[in-house]
C-alpha cells in the first residue's frame, strides 16, 4: 500500500544535508504505525512524502498505486483523497461550522447533491461523536472536539490511509486518549494509519508497528503485534 524505496529528502540546496536518508520500508494495508522521533527527526517529512506535499530528492514513494516519479500533476489530488490527513493544530476552516468543514471537503470532489452530502456528513460526525455539535464553529469546541472534527473531515472520502501528524500534541492526556480511541476504531475497521508522535507510551500500548527515526534515518522498525490483533 505504501512503499518507500531508498528515499532521500533534502530541503537544502546543497545535497547531502538529508532530512530523510535512505528510507526503505513498506506499510501493508491495515497497519497502525507509530512513527517516533525527536523534533527534526523527519517524521512530518515522511508523512508529507506520502501525500506528495514534498517530493523525494532521491528514490521513489509509491502510495495506493501512484508512484512519485510517474504521477501526473492532475493525479496528485486523487492520491491525496486516498489519504486522510490530520494535523496537530487541527486546521479547520474558522468561519465554517463543523458540518460545513466536513461537507466542504466532500464537495471538493464534485459531490454537490445536498441530500448525499448531508447523509455523508451525518455518518462521519456520528462516527467521531460530534453529530450533536455539528452546527458549532471550531472556536466553540474544545481541542479534543476540534481534533475529532478534523478526523471526521479526513474520513469523509472514506480513505484507505489516514496520516496523523502529532494528533494529540495540543491535547491533554484525557482528550488525547479520546482522539486515539477514534483512531483505534478506524484501525479496527481496516484503515491503514500512520501516526507521527513523540508519545512513546501510547506507541508501545497501541501500535502494531513502531518506527523510530533519528536524524532522518530509521534506527528501529519494530512489529509489536500482528495486525488484526485487538488492542484494548
Amino acid at each position: 500500500m505504501i512503499a518507500f524505496e531508498h528515499v532521500h529528502k533534502s530541503y537544502a540546496v546543497r545535497r547531502g544535508d538529508w532530512v530523510l536518508e535512505d528510507l526503505h520500508l513498506t506499510v501493508e494495508p491495515g497497519e497502525l504505525v507509530f512513527i517516533l522521533g525527536h523534533s527534526g527527526a523527519g517524521k512530518s517529512t515522511l508523512l508529507k512524502l506520502i501525500t506528495l506535499e514534498e517530493r523525494p530528492t532521491r528514490g521513489t514513494v509509491e502510495v495506493a498505486g501512484f508512484r512519485s516519479d510517474r504521477i501526473r500533476r492532475g493525479e496528485v489530488p486523487q492520491l491525496r483523497r486516498r489519504c486522510g490527513v490530520v494535523f496537530q493544530d487541527f486546521r479547520l476552516i474558522r468561519d465554517k461550522t463543523i458540518s460545513e468543514n466536513v461537507a466542504y471537503c466532500l464537495r471538493m470532489t464534485g459531490t454537490l447533491e445536498k441530500g448525499v452530502v448531508r447523509r455523508a456528513v451525518a455518518r462521519v460526525l456520528h462516527s467521531v461523536g460530534l453529530y450533536g455539535l455539528r452546527d458549532r464553529f471550531p472556536h466553540e469546541l474544545s481541542g479534543g472536539e476540534q481534533q475529532r472534527a478534523a478526523i471526521g473531515r479526513a474520513l469523509i472520502h472514506q480513505p484507505p490511509i489516514l496520516l496523523a501528524d502529532e494528533p494529540t500534541g495540543n491535547l491533554d492526556t484525557r482528550t488525547g486518549d479520546e482522539v486515539m480511541e477514534v483512531l483505534l476504531r478506524l484501525h479496527r475497521a481496516g484503515t491503514t494509519i500512520l501516526v507521527a508522535t513523540h508519545d512513546e507510551q501510547r506507541a508501545q500500548r497501541l501500535a502494531t508497528r513502531r518506527l523510530t527515526l533519528e536524524q532522518g534515518r530509521v534506527v528501529e522498525d519494530l512489529f509489536l503485534r500482528p495486525h488484526g490483533t485487538e488492542i484494548y
Binding site: 540546496v13 491525496r80 490527513v85 468561519d95 471538493m108 464534485g110 473531515r153
Partner: protein
C-alpha cells in the same frame, strides 16, 4: 449548474467575510465604470446626432447651361450606375428657380436678373460607407471630370469636421475602455490578492486534502466576477439617477439603449472573469513558489 451555484455561494461568502475590502473594491470599480458609462452616454448621443447629420451629406452636380436633354439622360444613367451613389434626383433650372423664389417669397428673380441664372442640377445621395470625406472627394472628382458637368459642390469642411469628430469620439471610447480595463484589473487584482492571502492557510490545507487547482481558484474567480457585476450595477444606477435628475435641463439627451447596456455588462463580466483568473492564478503560483523556497 450545481457547481456554479456552489462557487457563486462560496464567492459571495468570501466577499461578505471581507466586507470592508469588498466594499472598497466595489466603490473603486463603480467609480471607474461610472466614468466609462458616462462617456458611453455622451458617445451615444453624439453618434445619434451624427447619424442625423450623415443623412444630410450629399453632392450637388451642376450641369453646363444648354446641355441637351439626351446628354442629361446619359449622365443620369452613368451616375446612377456608380457603386457609391445611393440615389440621384434631377432638379431642372426651372424647378430650382421656383424653389428659390418660394424660399425668398418673390416671383421676380428672373425679371430682376434678366434671366434664370441657375443650372440644371443632379442631387446625389451617397451610399452608406461612401459618405466619409475621402470617398465624397473621390466621387466628386470622378463626376466633375465628365463632359457637361460644370461643377460639383459638397459641404467638404463640415463633412471632414464630422468625420474627424466621430474619429475622436471613437478613439476616446477606445482609450477610456482600455483605461477602464486596466483599472478593473488593478483593483480586482489587489482585492483578490488580499482575499487569497487571507485564506492562504486554508488553501494549503485544502490542497493537502485533495482539492484540485480548479476547485481552489473557482471561488475567487466568481468573487471577482461578482465584484465587477455589483460595481457595474452601482455605476448604472448612479448614471440613471443622474440622468433622471438632469433630464429637464438636457432636453433631447437620450439614455443608453438596452443592447449597449447588455454589451457593457457582458464586457465587464468578461473582463472581471479574465482579470480574476489571471490574478488568482498568479497569486496561487506565487504562494506555491514561496512555499517551496521557504522550505529550501
Amino acid at each position: 449548474m450545481r457547481a456554479l451555484a456552489f462557487f457563486v455561494q462560496e464567492g459571495w461568502s468570501s466577499l461578505r467575510r471581507n466586507l470592508a475590502a469588498s466594499l472598497a473594491a466595489v466603490t473603486a470599480l463603480a467609480a471607474v465604470l461610472f466614468v466609462l458609462l458616462l462617456l458611453l452616454l455622451i458617445s451615444h448621443n453624439i453618434l445619434f446626432l451624427a447619424a442625423r447629420l450623415e443623412a444630410r451629406k450629399g453632392l450637388s452636380v451642376f450641369l453646363d447651361p444648354g446641355l441637351p436633354p439626351e446628354r442629361v439622360e446619359e449622365l443620369r444613367r452613368h451616375f446612377t450606375g456608380f457603386r457609391e451613389v445611393a440615389s440621384l434626383r434631377f432638379v431642372s433650372r426651372a424647378a430650382a428657380l421656383a424653389d428659390v423664389e418660394a424660399d425668398l417669397g418673390t416671383s421676380r428673380i428672373e425679371e430682376i436678373l434678366g434671366g434664370n441664372p441657375l443650372p440644371d442640377t443632379f442631387l446625389i445621395e451617397p451610399a452608406p460607407g461612401s459618405a466619409d470625406a475621402a470617398a465624397l472627394e473621390r466621387l466628386a472628382g470622378e463626376i466633375g471630370a465628365y463632359d457637361g458637368v460644370e461643377d460639383v459642390v459638397y459641404g467638404r469642411r463640415w463633412v471632414e469636421a464630422l468625420d474627424q469628430g466621430l474619429r475622436v469620439v471613437s478613439q476616446a471610447n477606445g482609450l477610456t475602455a482600455g483605461l477602464a480595463i486596466l483599472a478593473i484589473i488593478l483593483v480586482l487584482g489587489n482585492t483578490l490578492r488580499l482575499l487569497v492571502l487571507m485564506r492562504e492557510e486554508q488553501l494549503g490545507v485544502m490542497k493537502v486534502i485533495g482539492a484540485t487547482d480548479a476547485f481552489l481558484r473557482a471561488p475567487f474567480i466568481t468573487a471577482g466576477a461578482l465584484l465587477c457585476m455589483l460595481a457595474a450595477g452601482a455605476a448604472l444606477i448612479c448614471l440613471y439617477a443622474g440622468f433622471l435628475a438632469t433630464r429637464d435641463w438636457l432636453a433631447g439627451v437620450r439614455f443608453l439603449p438596452v443592447h449597449w447596456l447588455a454589451f457593457f455588462f457582458l464586457g465587464v463580466g468578461f473582463v472581471g472573469l479574465a482579470g480574476s483568473w489571471l490574478t488568482v492564478q498568479a497569486t496561487l503560483h506565487h504562494l506555491a513558489r514561496r512555499g517551496d523556497s521557504g522550505r529550501a
